[in-house]
Each structure stands twice: as structure tokens, then as C-alpha cells.
């Protein structure tokens, strides 16, 4: 039995076609990331069985959902693919409780640890129960939609940009609910988004989609560090995520030191205990490279690194460099001229200067920005 969500399927809609060949992991949260119009929603709809014209094969942990060659197609209401739609799609003739019961009353798995009070607690729905759904705010709607989908006890949960209609504070709030779901309810999530901060904060795995093709799939850190993939995030946001563990708090200067695989990264104070972990996002444009240990500069984070890969972008001024920090990788965006002057090539030991990081996970600092706080690290 093959584990994971096996996709080998196609859908042709005249001016746009999807051709998906990839096995997505069914553990934790897998982000399906790509620009608008790349086929993300269509992919979810094919998995859920909402596109009757889909061709090919879809299987979940060895259970076939679609196999057009064998004339097999399990209909949506028998698949067990929960769906949280972008627009929530609450039933407006029912109140909040009615919507939640709708999922609970039908549903898929017979025996499950998921029950009403458990879900109501996890998503803080208690105060909403008797409310009419038309009176709910965007964030409340999505919480109810998520609760309704979980109560149906699906084998996996498909979420289609559930935060796209929300303002920034709401997004941060709902993200904190979503990130807890896989552990609480044992349901893997395929999470569609075109926001890199959602990927960095929520996902363990990342699948990249471009023009209806799944071009890569792997752990978030690895996939974001790859230089051979099309610039899906845009040059401005391209970068990597690093996972670090708190090992020192400097109260005098309000700084926190994080261990990122043997090296130290200093960031503005995080409200985290010793040994707790945080996820940081480092953009390629915020990383500089030095051949020798720089002296007398304001940048605090100077990491020992080895050049892993250099990609020169023809017809532009720029080059992308992948730097190995040992366990984790960094990306740097420098000019081609700099790459040539420093004679950068794979295997060369260098120093990576990190100008700024964005904190994506367990953000508890008194920040105004909620899409990840960003500070210069000089």
C-alpha cells in the first residue's frame, strides 16, 4: 500500500489544463503553493471529486478514488475529502450549530475521537452556536466552516485559501487555529495558498504548482532553498525558512539567540522559553556574502557557510546562490558582478551576512505587524 496522496490525473478546460503527477504527503500540513491561476483550486476540486471531467488516477493511502482506465470514480460524498472553501459556503438556512451538526450527522469514519465539544473548544465556537451565519464576520465564518468540515471526520482536509478574504489580524488569528488541527484531530491537510508567510508558518511540506503542473514537492525548507524552480514567490519574497531552537535570552539588549544546526542566529527578543523552537524566514535579498570574516560592521548575524550552488541569471544583473549552513540552507541574491569578483563556486567556504529575518511561527512579541515581524539585525 502506497502512503500519501497519489495524483496522476488530468483535466482539460479548454483554455486551461491541469496535469498533475506527484505523490503528496498525508502528514501534517502540506502547502500547495503557486501564483493565481496556476490550478491550485482545480487540483483540490479534482481530489474532492467535484470535477466530473477529471481523467487519470487518484489514490489516498492506497484507496482508489479515481481510476478512469478502470472506469472507477468514487463520488464526492463517499470520498471523505473535507473541503474548506475560500468563501466558507455555510448553509444560510441553518444557524452555526445547525451547520456544525450537518457535518457531524453525516460524515465518514465511524469511530473517531472527533466530537462536537472537542471541535467547538478547539475553534472557540461556543459563543457562536446560536448565531445566524449571515451575521458572522469573515474570520468567524471560516472557523465555523473548518469546524463543520472536521466534524464530518474526513480522511484528509482540503483548504482553499481560507484566509484570502480576511484582514491581517484575522489571518494571524485563524492561522493559530489551523496549525493546531493536524495534531488535535489526526487529519492531514492540503492547504492551498499564494501567500508565502502562510506556507512558512503552517506547512511542513510544500508542493509547488505552476501553469497546471506540480513542479516540486518536499519539506518546506528544502523546497524553498532550491534554485532550479521557477520564481514562484517573486524575486522580492524568494527565500528560505530556518528552524531554530532558543538557547539564550539577552534581557539587557532584548535579543534572543537561536541555535540553527550548530550556528547561532540572534534576533529581537522572542517570548519563548529555553528549548522552544521558532521558524524564521530569510529572504534571499537580505543575505550578503563575504569571503573573509568582516570586522566592525553592524550586522550581528554572520554565519559560516559553504557555497552549494550558483545560478547566474542571463540578461539580468543578478545571481542566485545557495549556501549550506550544515543542516539547513540559505539563499542569497547578489549581483553577477559580485559573484564573479568573489569567484564564488560550489565548495567555497564563505560568510553569510543576514540583514533581516521574518519570524513566522509562535510570534509573541508585541508587534503591530502580524504577517511576521521584521527587524533589521544590525
Amino acid at each position: 500500500m502506497t502512503q500519501g496522496l497519489q495524483l496522476d490525473c488530468r483535466l482539460d478546460c479548454g483554455n486551461f489544463s491541469c496535469d498533475l503527477r506527484q505523490t503528496l504527503p498525508l502528514t501534517g500540513i502540506t502547502a500547495l503553493f503557486g501564483p493565481s491561476g496556476s490550478g491550485k483550486t482545480m487540483t483540490l476540486r479534482m481530489i474532492a471529486g467535484l470535477e466530473p471531467a477529471a481523467q487519470g488516477r487518484i489514490a489516498v493511502n492506497g484507496t482508489t478514488w479515481l481510476d478512469t482506465d478502470a472506469g472507477e470514480s468514487v463520488s464526492t460524498h463517499r470520498r471523505g475529502a473535507g473541503f474548506v472553501f475560500q468563501d466558507a459556503r455555510l448553509f444560510r438556512h441553518l444557524d452555526v450549530e445547525g451547520n456544525l451538526h450537518y457535518g457531524a450527522k453525516r460524515g465518514f469514519a465511524q469511530r473517531s475521537r472527533i466530537n462536537m465539544s472537542h471541535v467547538v473548544d478547539a475553534l472557540d465556537l461556543g459563543s457562536l452556536m446560536g448565531r445566524r451565519v449571515t451575521g458572522l464576520s469573515g474570520g468567524e465564518r471560516q472557523r465555523v466552516a473548518i469546524g463543520r468540515a472536521i466534524l464530518a471526520r474526513p480522511k484528509l482536509l482540503l483548504m482553499d485559501e481560507p484566509l484570502s478574504a480576511l484582514d491581517l489580524p484575522r489571518r494571524a488569528e485563524i492561522m493559530s487555529y489551523i496549525e493546531a488541527l493536524p495534531a488535535l484531530f489526526g487529519i492531514p491537510i492540503i492547504y492551498v495558498t499564494h501567500a508565502i508567510d502562510e506556507v512558512a508558518r503552517l506547512a511542513q511540506s510544500l508542493a509547488l504548482i505552476s501553469s497546471g503542473r506540480l513542479v516540486a514537492c518536499g519539506p518546506v525548507q528544502e523546497t524553498l532553498a532550491r534554485l532550479d524552480l521557477p520564481p514562484l514567490t517573486g524575486r522580492f519574497e524568494a527565500g528560505v525558512v530556518l528552524d531554530g531552537v532558543v538557547f539564550e535570552q539577552d534581557e539587557k539588549f532584548a535579543l534572543t539567540s537561536l541555535d540553527i544546526g550548530g550556528q547561532q542566529l540572534v534576533v529581537p527578543a522572542l517570548d519563548l522559553a529555553h528549548g522552544e523552537s521558532a521558524r524564521l524566514r530569510v529572504r534571499a535579498r537580505d543575505v550578503s556574502i563575504a569571503r573573509a570574516q568582516p570586522q566592525g560592521i553592524s550586522i550581528r548575524n554572520v554565519l559560516k557557510a559553504t557555497i552549494a550552488e550558483v545560478v547566474l541569471e542571463p540578461d539580468t544583473a543578478f545571481a542566485e546562490v545557495r549556501l549550506s549552513l550544515g543542516v539547513q540552507d540559505l539563499r542569497a541574491r547578489i549581483t553577477r558582478k559580485a559573484a564573479a569578483d568573489l569567484r564564488l563556486k560550489p565548495g567555497l567556504p564563505v560568510f553569510a551576512l543576514v540583514k533581516s529575518v521574518t519570524l513566522d511561527r509562535r510570534l509573541l512579541t508585541p508587534a503591530v505587524r502580524t504577517d511576521g515581524q521584521e527587524d533589521p539585525l544590525h
Partner: protein
């Protein structure tokens, strides 16, 4: 004024009730199909459903009379089945009314289903609801206004029809003589009193029914549980 004959009133109400029940039963799947199909035949079926809106009742009545006559296959089949002719019978009136009032039931239902849309039905399917369950638990409660409108329009239109009934049913007391025919007959025999009673009664009845509908429509905002 001679004794007021209530038989046409009873017959009209009976005819309208039977017609509406039949129309809701066949109109629901037809309206559902028209609302959601991607089939290219949709346009043709939609046009056929709307035909009674524009066709003169006499044209419809003429064709129905021919089909129901013993010379045509349906008429002959009915005679062999029931021993009675379809034309000039209550059953014939029901069939004619069903066809004549079809758009008045199908169109509000179709619009109501289209207003519900695919979206909540897809959501229901991902929660484990079968297509029949989706209809019963989502589409029909959301389309309740459409059902009220369809029922009332179908009922009122059947009560009020004249041309088709006259051609297909004739004027047989207790069998095919409905209120609208009775009014016409009263006029022809210069029995103005009877015509007044029936006309005023029909007017009051229609007004009451419509008022009730608008009241119900207010009471059933679909957001409520």
C-alpha cells in the same frame, strides 16, 4: 336568483389542487435538471416548457383535443384502459391543466434552484451528503420561497383558465364545468346574479391567496433556521 350551484367551485378547487400536486412532482426534477444541466438540449426543453406562456389557449386546446380523441393513440389507449374517453372528462382536464400551467410551476422552481446554486450542494457533498440528501436538506429548504410561488401561481392559473378547459372539457355539470365556464354560461343565459357571485368570489379568493403568499414570503426569510 335561482339556487346557487356550488358544484363548479368545488370542481375548480379539486382540479387546481390535483394539478398543482402533479406539477410539483414532475416540475421539481424538471426544474432541477434545467437549473443545473450542462446538456445542450437544455435550451430546447426550456423553450418547450415555456410554450404555454405564449401559445393561445385555443391552439393548445385544439391539439390536446385531437390527441385525446378516440382517433389518436393516447385517446384510444385511455379508452382501452379506463373505458372512458379522455376528452370531456375530469382526467382530460387535469392533463390539459398540467400542460397549460407547467411554466408557472417550473419557472419559479428553476429560478429558486439557480439562486441556491451549485456551491452549497458541493459543500454538502464534501460533508458526506448524497445527491438526494443534498436536495432534501439543502436545496429544498433554501428554495422554499420558490415552492410557495410555484404552488400559488400554478393553483391560481389553473383556477383561472378558460380557453383550454372549454375546448378540452366542454361544459358538463359536475364533470368539467368549472367556475370560469360557469360564469361564462351564466352570462349567456343572462343570469347576472350568479355571474356576480362567482366572479366576486373568484376575485376575493385570488386576492386572499396572493396576500397569503406575500405574508408567507415575509415569514420565510431563508436565513432563518
Amino acid at each position: 336568483m335561482t339556487g346557487f350551484d356550488t358544484a363548479p367551485v368545488v370542481l375548480s378547487i379539486k382540479l387546481a389542487a390535483v394539478t398543482v400536486i402533479i406539477l410539483l412532482i414532475i416540475g421539481t426534477p424538471l426544474a432541477w435538471w434545467l437549473a443545473f444541466t450542462r446538456n445542450r438540449l437544455r435550451v430546447i426543453i426550456e423553450a418547450m416548457t415555456a410554450l404555454p406562456l405564449v401559445l393561445p389557449p385555443t391552439v393548445l386546446g385544439f391539439y390536446l383535443l385531437i390527441l385525446m380523441g378516440p382517433a389518436a393513440v393516447p385517446g384510444r389507449w385511455w379508452v382501452s384502459l379506463s373505458g372512458d374517453t379522455l376528452a370531456f372528462s375530469f382526467a382530460g382536464l387535469v392533463i390539459a391543466s398540467v400542460i397549460y400551467s407547467l411554466p408557472f410551476v417550473v419557472q419559479p422552481l428553476q429560478q429558486a434552484f439557480q439562486a441556491v446554486g451549485r456551491e452549497p450542494l458541493e459543500a454538502a457533498a464534501t460533508l458526506g451528503a448524497s445527491p438526494l440528501d443534498q436536495f432534501a436538506s439543502i436545496a429544498s429548504p433554501m428554495a422554499v420561497r420558490g415552492y410557495i410561488t410555484a404552488t400559488v401561481l400554478g393553483f391560481a392559473h389553473t383556477i383561472g383558465e378558460f380557453g383550454v378547459v372549454l375546448m378540452v372539457g366542454g361544459n358538463i355539470p359536475g364533470r368539467t364545468k368549472v367556475v370560469s365556464i360557469a360564469i361564462y354560461e351564466s352570462l349567456e343565459t343572462l343570469d347576472y346574479a350568479n355571474a356576480h357571485i362567482l366572479s366576486a368570489g373568484l376575485l376575493a379568493f385570488c386576492f386572499l391567496v396572493l396576500s397569503l403568499v406575500f405574508l408567507l414570503n415575509r415569514r420565510f426569510p431563508i436565513e432563518a433556521r
